[in-house]
Amino acid sequence: MSISEEQVRHVAMLARLGLSDDQIASLGQELNTILGHIDQIQKLDLEGVETTAHPLDVVNSMRADEIRPGLLREDALKNAPERQDNAFLIPRIVGGDDAS
């Protein structure tokens, strides 16, 4: 399988990466080289083989539902790029002139 420039743009959007036209072009080439190698996996006959998401045979890891200390609010906000009072500050999402 090879990836088209249009697909690269679509994937960049899905990944929330605002890439330049130059970056899109060079990434297209690089991804196609890498995919050219990865595509060998399509040759494996894996019909009927179950999938593995996790290397160890474990299921749910449960703990008692008890209150315990968590991150302090000041610590949680310590690295905020912008904050206002006790909240993370971001640009407006709804309302205003925002067409998106």
Binding site: I3, L27, I41, Q42, V58
Partner: protein, 493 residues
């Protein structure tokens, strides 16, 4: 009392402090001075932490003064990969997007090392978010291999490998998703251990591939690696994938192996991996010599094939980036991270902050992973890779029915020049062909120096079954004693 940093071991530091030959503060200061004198050439560290180091050293010296017993890692200068959180440090992952991130909690593995008496000397350089095999993908610049300053130290835990190799620290921690501890271990002539998945908590280590990542130590001796593993291992309520397996005394496992020898140990060389293209002939020959050494020591030796592991690199470059693209979605410049200025709206904020904050290899992996998980491609890539993973695990399980230890080279070649592979991502990925299958299967493995090729250190990889670290470390210790590799690079002498 003069302290020869390159000859210090965990045992000699602790015993020397206990016997008052030197103080913990003296050891810490010598280590910090050596770091200061060598960092311009090496760039092993993103941040050196003299205040934390001296405070921890003083706490050890206070124990000595009070006549208290010393913990196992008392006074041992230790460096941590810069993806592990420690309050009082920045945790940057060598990324621009986290360049100002201050840790607000401790990584469990780091905390356990410090609780065992280790002295934190700093945070080590790495490939950004652990994406790479050379430590060139760092926003702070590459680290340099102490055996040849023009060469890479491997990666992604390259800074951690350099710190131990160049005697800036006695121990360091790295993280290994596809070889990121073992490969730089091989390229710097250090002992480098990737524990079984679930052996050491991943809490507080910035996630790359959550089903693959595992924290482990670099050391100059197998026994020192065993000391570190004993300190770090065990269930952590903060990591649901850390396993509730008993934690044996790994140092005793090393001592016992030395006393009892290799009789009864079954060692298998992985033949089809040794026949892969691109393997340096000298490294291939040395790997076969290692198996001969095991036979001489009384082990039963044989050959095994792991055919699906031929496809491990392909499976890994689907599964790893898929998990990474999900894990790195959190870097949205809302709660932390460097934010692009004057965003028009939230989408613009995400798009520009991420494109400007991530380096080229991070962007490549995020793109690859997002593509592999996207509608229409999910089953052909991610599904197929997960099925291949099942077969890889099955083949390892079958091999471990017949053998206790499997042997491969750690890396197909010795350290390469800085810049040599930077333009070709795929060639760089091929550096991890022998280490990647082990992460997919979740087994434990260790790289031990086995000599030199082209004048540079090379490593042999020993692999053992899940939670068989005692067997692994015992075999590694026996091999170490036979090979007698001088781990001190000329740069340090």
């Amino acid at each position: 009392m003069s302290i020869n940093l390159s000859k210090l071991t965990v045992r000699s530091v602790r015993d020397g402090i206990a016997a008052k030959e030197f103080s913990a503060r003296e050891v810490a200061q010598v280590s910090l001075d050596h770091i200061a004198a060598t960092e311009d050439a090496l760039h092993a560290f993103n941040q050196v932490t003299p205040e934390l180091a001296l405070e921890a050293a003083d706490a050890i010296d206070a124990k000595v003064a009070a006549g208290e017993d010393l913990p196992p890692l008392a006074g041992v200068p230790t460096a941590f990969k810069d993806n592990m959180n420690l309050v009082g440090t920045r945790t940057t992952c060598s990324s621009k997007i986290l360049s100002n991130y201050e840790s607000v909690y401790d990584c469990t593995a780091v905390r356990r090392m410090l609780d065992a008496g280790a002295i934190p000397v700093g945070k080590c350089n790495m490939d950004e978010f652990a994406f790479g095999s050379s430590t060139e993908n760092s926003a702070t610049g590459p680290s340099h291999n102490p055996w040849d300053l023009d060469c890479v130290p491997g990666g992604s835990s390259g800074g951690s490998a350099v710190a131990v190799s160049a005697a800036q620290a006695v121990l360091s921690l790295g993280s290994d998703t596809g070889g990121s501890i073992r490969q730089p271990g091989a390229l710097t002539g250090t002992v480098a251990l990737k524990p079984t998945y679930g052996r050491v908590s991943r809490y507080g280590c910035v996630a790359f591939g959550s089903s693959l990542d595992q924290i482990g130590p670099f050391a100059r001796t197998v026994e020192d690696a065993a000391f570190a593993l004993s300190a770090m291992s065990g269930k952590d309520p903060m990591d649901a994938t850390s396993m509730n397996e008993p934690v044996p005394d790994y140092v005793a496992a090393v001592t016992n192996a030395r006393a009892n020898g290799m009789k009864g140990l079954r060692v298998g060389i992985v033949r089809d991996m040794l026949d892969m293209d691109g393997l340096h002939t000298r490294i291939k020959g040395m790997t076969e010599e290692v198996v001969g050494t095991f036979a001489r020591l009384g082990a039963t030796v044989g050959e095994v094939n792991l055919p699906t592991s031929q496809h491990a690199l392909a499976a890994y470059y689907i599964i790893g980036p898929a998990e990474a693209s999900s894990n790195l979605a959190r870097f949205d410049a809302v709660r932390y991270g460097v934010r692009a200025p004057e965003a028009e709206d939230v989408m613009d904020l995400y798009m520009r902050s991420r494109a400007e904050g991530f380096g080229p290899e991070s962007i490549r992996r995020i793109m690859l992973g997002t593509y592999a998980l996207s509608a229409g491609y999910y089953d052909a890539y991610y599904g197929q890779a997960q099925r291949a993973r099942t077969l890889i695990i099955r083949e390892f399980a079958e091999a471990f029915a017949d053998y206790d230890i499997l042997v491969t080279p750690t890396s197909p070649e010795p350290a390469f020049k800085i810049g040599e592979k930077a333009a070709d991502p795929l060639t760089m990925y091929l550096n991890d062909i022998f280490t990647i299958p082990v992460n997919l299967a979740g087994n434990c493995a260790i790289s031990v120096p086995m000599g030199k090729a082209k004048g540079l250190p090379v490593g042999v990889q020993l692999i053992a079954n899940h939670f068989a670290e005692e067997t692994l470390l015992g075999a590694a210790a026996m091999l170490e004693r036979e090979i007698r590799f001088d781990s001190t690079p000329p740069f340090v002498r």
